[in-house]
Symmetry: C2
Subunit: 420 residues, 2 copies
C-alpha cells in the first residue's frame, strides 16, 4: 500500500463517506460512488451497526454474542518471520475497515481502473457492519522453530489432552492462527474471512473453516437464552459481559500469569461437537431432561420453576434420589463441582448438510474463552468426558486451542507484543 493509496481505502459500503472519499471515487469509472449510493437499506432496525475494533481487549469475546459465525483456522505457509509480521499488519488494517462496515480498497483502482483484481471481493457492498467482530488467536504450532517464537509460548497454551470418547479429525483441528468472525449477517462474516484469506494468499492457507448460526449462549444479561439443536436453552449460567469482576478472574489473562504479551488476552478452546440428533429425537422427554438436569420448556433446573432459579443440588425427590441427577450435564459442568472454574462460552449451532448415511451433520461448534485452560476447560472436560450421560448423544470431532492476545490500540497490530 502506497501513501497515495491510503485515502482511497475504506470506502463505506453504505454511502456514508465524506467529500474526500467521494472525490476519489468519482475517478474510478463511477464505481465506488454507485456501489455506495445504491446500497441496500438496513433490513432490521437494530443489530446493524459497528462494534469498536480497538480497545483493551479484543472484540468478539465478551461482545454480546452475534447470531452468525464464520470461523477459520489457517496454516502459515511462509517460513519467513517478516512476511508473517507483514501479513498481521495488513490483516489488522483490513479488520479495522471490515468491522467498521467499510470495503477494503478500491476495486482495482490501484493500477488504474479495471486492470487489477478488485481489492475487495464485493459481496458485502450495500450491507451494514452488522456488528462484525474479528478475533485472532495463535495456536501451539505457531510456536515451533519457524518464527523464533518458541520461548514466547505461554505455559497455559498446552496441547489439549485426549479426552475419553474423543474422535478428533486432524483436518478439522489445530491451526497456526484462528480468526473468529461473528456478525448478525452471515454474508458479512463470510466476506470478512474470505478477504482475510485473500490478503493472506501465499503466506497462509485455510486449514478448515466452520459456519454457525443461532448463537448457543448469551454473553450479556440483555440477551435471552437461545436454544441448541437438542432443543434446550443453552448457557443460562454463562459468564456475562456485565460480570466485570468475574471476567478478570475467569476470562482475562492477568499480568501475573506469565507470558507478558498475553495480558488482557484470553485462551480460546474450540470443539466441533457432533450431535446424534436422530437418536436424541427418539429419546423421551423425561430422559432428555434427566440427562441435562433442566426442564426443556422452561430451562429451569429440575425441581424449580424458572430458568434463572438457583440450582439446588442437594434437594431430593420423593424417590430419595437427587432432583438434579448425579450424572446430569448441569451438575457435572457446574463451577461448584469444578473448583469454581467457569468458561465464557459463545458457541454456535451448525448443520453442514448430511453425512452420507442419511443423518444431518449437525451439532454445536463450541467456543469457550478462559484465563487458563489447565484450570478451566481441561479439568471440566475431563470430568464430563468420564461421566456425563450426554456423551451417548454427542462426540467431539474437531479441536483447537488458541492464545488470543489483548486488544489492539490504534497504530498497533494483531500480535505486536508477541513479536516485540
Amino acid at each position: 500500500m502506497t501513501t497515495e493509496d491510503a485515502p482511497r481505502k475504506g470506502i463505506s459500503r453504505r454511502g456514508l463517506f465524506g467529500a474526500a472519499g467521494a472525490a476519489v471515487a468519482t475517478g474510478v469509472a463511477g464505481y465506488a460512488v454507485h456501489s455506495a449510493l445504491s446500497g441496500e437499506e438496513s433490513q432490521a432496525a437494530d443489530n446493524t451497526g459497528p462494534v469498536e475494533f480497538h480497545g483493551p481487549h479484543q472484540a468478539g469475546i465478551v461482545t454480546a454474542a452475534q447470531d452468525r459465525l464464520h470461523f477459520a483456522a489457517f496454516d502459515v505457509t511462509t517460513t519467513k518471520r517478516d512476511e508473517l509480521i507483514a501479513l498481521l499488519k495488513e490483516w489488522t488494517a483490513a479488520a479495522a475497515l471490515l468491522t467498521a462496515g467499510r470495503d477494503i480498497g478500491q476495486y482495482g483502482a490501484v493500477n488504474g481502473p479495471g486492470e487489477a483484481p478488485p481489492e475487495d471481493t464485493g459481496e458485502a457492498v450495500g450491507l451494514p457492519p452488522a456488528r462484525l467482530t474479528l478475533t485472532i488467536g495463535f495456536g501451539p504450532s505457531l510456536f515451533d522453530k519457524r518464527f523464533g517464537l518458541a520461548s514466547k509460548r505461554p505455559a497455559a497454551l498446552v496441547d489439549l489432552p485426549h479426552f475419553i470418547g474423543d474422535d478428533i479429525e486432524p483436518g478439522r483441528s489445530g491451526g497456526d492462527i484462528a480468526v473468529q468472525a461473528c456478525s448478525d449477517d452471515p454474508q458479512v462474516a463470510v466476506h470478512a474471512i474470505r478477504n482475510l484469506a485473500r490478503i493472506g494468499f501465499g503466506r497462509v492457507a485455510v486449514r478448515y473453516s466452520q459456519l454457525g448460526f443461532g448463537r448457543t449462549s448469551s454473553t450479556s444479561r440483555a440477551q435471552t437464552t437461545p436454544r441448541n439443536l437438542f432443543g434446550f436453552k443453552d448457557g443460562t449460567n454463562n459468564l456475562k459481559l456485565e460480570d466485570a469482576e468475574k471476567l478478570e478472574q475467569q476470562v482475562w489473562v492477568q499480568p501475573e500469569d506469565g507470558a507478558e504479551w498475553m495480558a488482557g488476552g484470553s485462551y480460546l478452546v474450540s470443539r466441533r461437537i457432533r450431535m446424534n440428533i436422530e437418536i436424541w429425537d427418539r429419546t423421551s422427554l423425561g430422559e432428555q431432561e434427566t440427562i441435562i438436569g433442566r426442564g426443556k420448556g422452561t430451562g429451569a433446573p429440575l425441581g424449580k420453576a424458572e430458568e434463572f432459579d438457583a440450582i439446588d443440588f442437594v434437594a431430593k425427590g420423593s424417590d430419595g434420589e437427587a432432583k438434579i441427577p448425579m450424572d446430569s450435564h448441569v451438575r457435572l459442568a457446574h463451577p461448584q463441582f469444578n473448583n469454581g472454574a467457569e468458561l465464557l462460552r459463545r458457541g454456535y449451532n451448525f448443520v453442514d448438510g448430511s453425512d452420507g448415511l442419511g443423518r444431518l451433520d449437525a451439532g454445536l461448534f463450541f467456543l469457550a474463552y478462559q484465563r487458563d485452560p489447565r484450570k478451566q476447560f481441561i479439568p471440566i472436560q475431563t470430568q464430563l468426558a468420564r461421566t456425563d450421560t450426554l456423551n451417548e448423544y454427542i462426540h467431539h470431532v474437531g479441536s483447537g486451542i488458541f492464545a488470543c492476545p489483548g486488544g489492539v490500540t490504534p497504530g498497533s497490530y494483531w500480535g505486536e507484543k508477541l513479536f516485540a
Copy 2:
C-alpha cells in the same frame, strides 16, 4: 394421531395461543405454557410473520425470497404406496403447523408427561414463523415401479442431460422427494427440515441437504437485488411475483401441458454450483465485468449507468466490439437469445467450510422454477455450458429435477392428485 390428541397439536411457539390451548398445556407439567410465555421477542420488526401455506400454488416459489435456505432431498425407503401416502399426509399437517410458527405436538404428552419423545424437537421454541415456506417436489426416480406411478410421470420431468463440464456427484444429486425450506431465520428452516425427517423415519431417509444464505435473487420488485459470492448483483432481470402474466407463461404448469395433476405446479431444477472464488478473486475488475456483462458496483449493463437500464446488445464500443461481449453471461442467459425462455430463480449462496485443499467450499445453490425444463433450463444451460466464459470459474457438482405440484387446499395433502 387420535382425535383426543388433536387439540393438543400446534401450540404457538410465541405465547399467542388461546384459552383452549392453554387449558390443555397446563396439564403437561407446565411445559408448553412456560415455553410459550418465555419465548424470545422478535429480533426484527419485519420478516417475522407467517406466509400462508394453503393456496392455488405452493408457497416458496414466487414468495418474496427469504434470506435463508435448508434444502433436503429424500430417498423413499418404504416400498409400500400406502405408507408413502400416509407420510405425505403427516408431512402436510406438520408443514401447515410449522409455517404458521407452531410446534408440532406436545413434547411427549401423548403417552403421559415425559414418557414419550417430544413430538417437536424444540429448538425453534420462542422463534417467530420468520416467513417459513415449505415446498415439495417429486423426482424422476419416484416414478419407477415401486409405487405404481410410472404412468403419471410428466413428460416434462425428464432426466437432465449431461452438460459440458458437469462434474456431478451422485451423493449430492437426485432424490425421490425434495423439500425446500426457506425462512428469514436459519434455525427455523433447519428445525422444519429436521422435524420432517424425524416424522419420516423408517419411510424416508435424507439423501443430501444443503444450507444457504443471502438469497441470490429477488423475486419481488419490493426487494433490492442481492449479491452473489462473485460480488455481483444477481438476478436483476429475474421473473418477479408481480409479473402475473409472465408467471403463467413461464412458471406455472397449465392444464393443457399434460400431466393433469401438475396443473398450477412448477418444475424445479437444483444445481450445486461450486465457485472457484480464490481464482476469481485474482481476476481483474475489467475481466470480471467483461465475463458477466455488467458493472460490478452498479449492476448496470456495460455501457449503461443504472442497474435496471435496458440492455443494448447491439451497441459497439470505440474498438468496434460489442459493449456486451458475445460470450458474456448476461447475453448468453438472456431470453432474447433463448427463444424467450426465462426462469424464476431463487438460489442461495453457500459456504460449507473448506475443501481440504485450503479453498472455501463455496458457491451458489441454484434453484430455478419453470413451466417446462425441456424448453427452459435445458436449452439455456446447454448454451451456457458450451460458451459462457464464466465456466472457467464455476463447476456444477450437484443436480436435481423435481415436479412440484400445485398448491394444497385445506383438507388435502401434498401430492394428493398424483395418487388419486
